[in-house]
Symmetry: C2
Subunit: 327 residues, 2 copies
């Protein structure tokens, strides 16, 4: 079997004229950056396009050129669109309400560009699970189409690659993504201070306060191998924080020297959300979370618990995890 | 004047046989990585070398090949060394006790490789203040000497460049450093998970607890333009943290959306240390800190205050900074 490449997707793009572009719910830097870069590519080929997402895009990405073009309503002239291009997701319920709209009213021609482990929908899809990011694949597509990756496209793609690798820190970083970054850097360097500040320094004050409470409340097991903390419902009210502030919390717990796993328990009012991260790369958390009906990756997994108090759930699960890690 | 290049330093290396390598006190990833890469380069040219630093190197860098070769005692056969190569610092008191030892007993031939704004000591120095890091210059030197940058040298140089740009996030990131990273990445990718975990996930538990207290105690001024926090002496005792845990504290304060400056006050027992960061890139903090006998860069500066309580110092300085920012 040949290595996934952008040839068929390029053919799909050439065959159609009016594109709806979409991505998964709660779009991140990779999906938004990829959508906007795809839009620039399509525009440069004289195509018409419309970005239609389930949610409003996160404000910290507003530095991206074309950000205002992201809509969360379908186009009024949806019947005029002859193709749909999905970035960073399969054509699936993960698209949110967009999925139903596209299924009923959308164009029948659909293609996917994605680095997740998704099945190919049809021959036009460009899916490569060992790529760092969808942004990396959009770069490959632009190169294949011989579209210069400069200006706006460079900012969009760099942001996609940079955010999905957490700034080239995660193990999904690839040699190709490092090379793409180095080729794009001269194009974007004047924008770099604003980009970096928007990406990494846009925390809300309430979120900072909640993180303070979470760190203060953190505990380690007697053997020091698990670190965990509890977020009570009242802490959100006290600080004005909400779930959107939690992104880096568990990463910070995981940063402690000598632990094997980090665990964050969050009281939502209707259940207890349990979020786990592995630090010891020989540990696989998936079999553990499956006991509780959860899922995820070997080093990042989670599940929900109902009918227990926050403390009760934490006590039981930390004990079970301790046995599992010893096991 | 020609652009600084490694030609003269290469000549210096070729002319001598036994090298003492050193760097500034409290060596960081750039200085340690650069020293170890220089050692590999010199060894590959058949030279003898000895790394002599003021302090023990930080434990989080122990993944670097050759880490155990870093000594904080001079070689017993110091008279046999005919050259000294200083990385990431001038030949100055910033070398700590090493400076005096080298001045009295060290070889008279000295050269410097550095990206700080330091005067050239002599014609052999390779100083380039617009480089991202000393690691970037060591890469240029290896390339000039036609030494393949593979294996250990690749790990050392990547670490130097990566840490001094805070993972390509800071404005000192250069197109050259991005290119070097992309060329080195395929050489180091099997070591990447360990490297990244050592660099970013080696916080001490006490430091995490202290950061929690610091975030909880943080305040914003009424206009929301300054965020600040106070570290009382007792907090260190309560958490078991010490000054070595403080590195990212102010970065985290600075990460809050909408502020212009972040300020951290720390009670040491003999004075109050005041650490400032600018977030609005049009603000220059240097004239402000000079009023208090301090110094630094436009966006990162500090000073000390004596004879005042922590709260008193904070109140006065935040008021003055507020007027300064308005001004």
């Amino acid at each position: 079997m040949s290595e996934p490449n952008p040839a068929a997707l390029s053919g799909f793009i050439r065959q159609h004229d009016h594109f709806i572009i979409t991505a998964h719910i709660r779009s991140d830097g990779d999906s938004i950056g990829s959508e906007l870069a795809l839009r620039e590519i399509l525009l440069s080929l004289g195509k018409k396009c419309y970005i239609f997402n389930n949610d409003e895009p996160a404000a910290y990405l507003s530095f991206l050129p074309g950000f205002a073009e992201i809509k969360n309503m379908p186009p009024s002239d949806i019947a005029d669109y002859d193709a749909c291009l999905i970035a960073d997701s399969a054509f699936s319920p993960r698209l949110g309400s967009v999925y139903n709209t596209l299924q009923t009213d959308g164009p029948r021609a659909v293609a996917v560009i994605d680095h997740h482990q998704n099945p190919c929908l049809n021959d036009f899809c460009y899916i490569k699970p060992d790529a760092s990011s969808t942004g990396e694949l959009v770069y490959n597509l632009a190169e294949y189409l011989e579209i210069p990756v400069t200006g706006n496209i460079a900012i969009d793609i760099y942001t996609a690659v940079f955010t999905d690798t957490s700034g080239f820190r995660q193990t999904n970083t690839t040699a190709r993504s490092a090379k793409i970054a180095s080729m794009l850097f001269p194009e974007i360097k004047d924008h770099y201070p604003v980009m970096m500040q928007s990406i990494f320094e846009d925390n809300r004050y309430g979120g900072l306060k909640l993180m303070g409470k979470m760190l203060e409340a953190s505990k380690r097991t007697a053997d020091g191998l698990i670190i965990y903390s509890l977020l009570e419902r009242r802490m959100f009210a006290e600080t004005g924080a909400d779930d959107s502030d939690l992104e880096h919390f568990i990463t910070y717990l995981r940063s402690v020297r000598g632990i094997k796993a980090a665990c964050l328990f969050r009281e939502t009012g209707k259940d207890i959300k349990v979020n786990l991260r592995g630090k010891d790369i020989t540990v696989d958390l998936v079999p553990f979370v499956r006991r509780y009906g959860g899922g995820g990756h070997p080093q990042a997994a989670g599940f929900s618990v109902t009918g227990k108090s926050l403390c009760q759930a934490a006590d039981e699960i930390i004990n079970a995890l301790n046995l599992y890690l010893a096991g």
